[in-house]
């Protein structure tokens, strides 16, 4: 076991971890932050997407121990985030989820897209979302929600990641 200290959703957190532990398992099992879902555990599905140092990251493709001293944000830490507030509302309005398993990863990636490219069109969103798998919706509700959220946020000042 090794000691790991990182900034998790704005708070300093220290835990003993095994080197083989992924960031996803660390978040779910050690920190009990279960918004981050694990689908495939090899980088194909995108359900486990979080932000590391402000950058979208597959938490199943990162060892927790590699995050020593880094800043990790999960969906739980973005409750009051202005971009996420708008995204949540539009996901609700556009029926952008059915079973909800992919939704945390979709929201994290949608926020990343809107922070990098304000007011994106549907084609850009589809390209950028190509790493996130949803087996229920056929994606159209998700794309509609992100387009609408981008439009609403587009004119406003861009929030800092």
């Amino acid at each position: 076991m090794k000691s790991l200290t990182l900034q998790l959703n704005g708070s300093k957190v220290t835990h003993e971890v095994e080197p083989r532990e992924t960031l996803a398992d660390f978040l779910r099992e050690r920190c009990r932050l279960t918004a981050t879902h694990l689908g495939c555990e090899h980088g194909a599905c995108g359900a486990c997407t979080v932000a590391v140092n402000g950058q979208a990251t597959r938490s199943c493709l990162r060892l927790a121990i590699m995050c020593e001293g880094q800043s990790v944000q999960t969906l739980e830490g973005l409750e009051d985030d202005p971009t996420m507030e708008v995204l949540r509302r539009h996901f609700h309005q556009s029926h952008a989820l059915q079973c909800g398993f992919c939704t945390p990863g979709m929201l994290m990636m949608a926020r990343d897209i809107l922070l990098r490219m304000p007011n994106p069109n549907a084609q850009t969103i589809r390209d950028q979302l190509s790493g996130q798998i949803c087996r229920c919706t056929g994606y159209s509700g998700i794309v509609t929600a992100i387009v609408a959220a981008g439009r609403e946020l587009g004119g406003a000042e861009r929030p800092q990641p």
């Binding site: 555990e41 980088g43 990251t57 493709l61 790493g131």
Partner: protein, 277 residues
Amino acid sequence: MKAAAFDYAIPKSVAEATALLGSNGAATAAIAGGQSLLPLLNLRVALPDLVVDLARLEELKEIAATQTNIRIGALTTHAAIEDGKLPEAFGGLMQKVASKISYRAVRNHGTIGGSVALADPAADWPGCLLALGAHVRIAGRKGTRSQPIGEFVLGQYSTSLAADEIIVGFDVPRPDAALRCGSFKVVRKSGAFANSIAFAISYGRGGPAAVVLAAAADRPCLLPAVAERIKAGEKSEDVLRDAIAQDVAKHVAKDDPYLMRLHTSTVLRAVREVQAK
């Protein structure tokens, strides 16, 4: 699945990293972004005793323009290249190639050095760097060396790296204003292994040209007959197709009409992009 147990070390210098990787009797693995190694660990395909984390070595982060070369540190991420962080655009080629690697979340951590060290036949960077004539800078316990990338990649997941050696970075010859680049990639789903990738570069009629096909054979291969046609300013589709067929047949089973057609199409599109500029 979950990875099997291994030990983990963060070396503070290249010398320490090479000493750890070369430790006798241990199966060691170097990790940078981990975007290829983590799936292999999680699926228990890779079973190292020790994982050596190179991600904090400053020497591997150097990005610089010298008089003759653009120096790209091994730890440069695909996302950094996609976002235009290199001091030279190479006719837009590297940005375009970077933007088509897997997904943004993978590009944020995956590195150019990791991609070349793994030497997956379907990877983007080995072929792209071969077209641009890059050298690989390597450090080991006995010191440093530099090797043309065409000699560095030996085959499928096989390179000239010894157990104790790591890639420090790449020296890519500085292009002049005449450089024109084209590339085309066929991949059924983003993030999956590519089915065919072609790169074409040209310095105008009579100037140097190179054409590379990747994801076809066990390593990226140069297509000299096609490059000669670009040099000669050949525009005829029939002539170009003949040259492509002649080159590609050396690397792909000629009796597979699908593969011949696929690779012919990617190479032709890359060549057409160069010629349109």
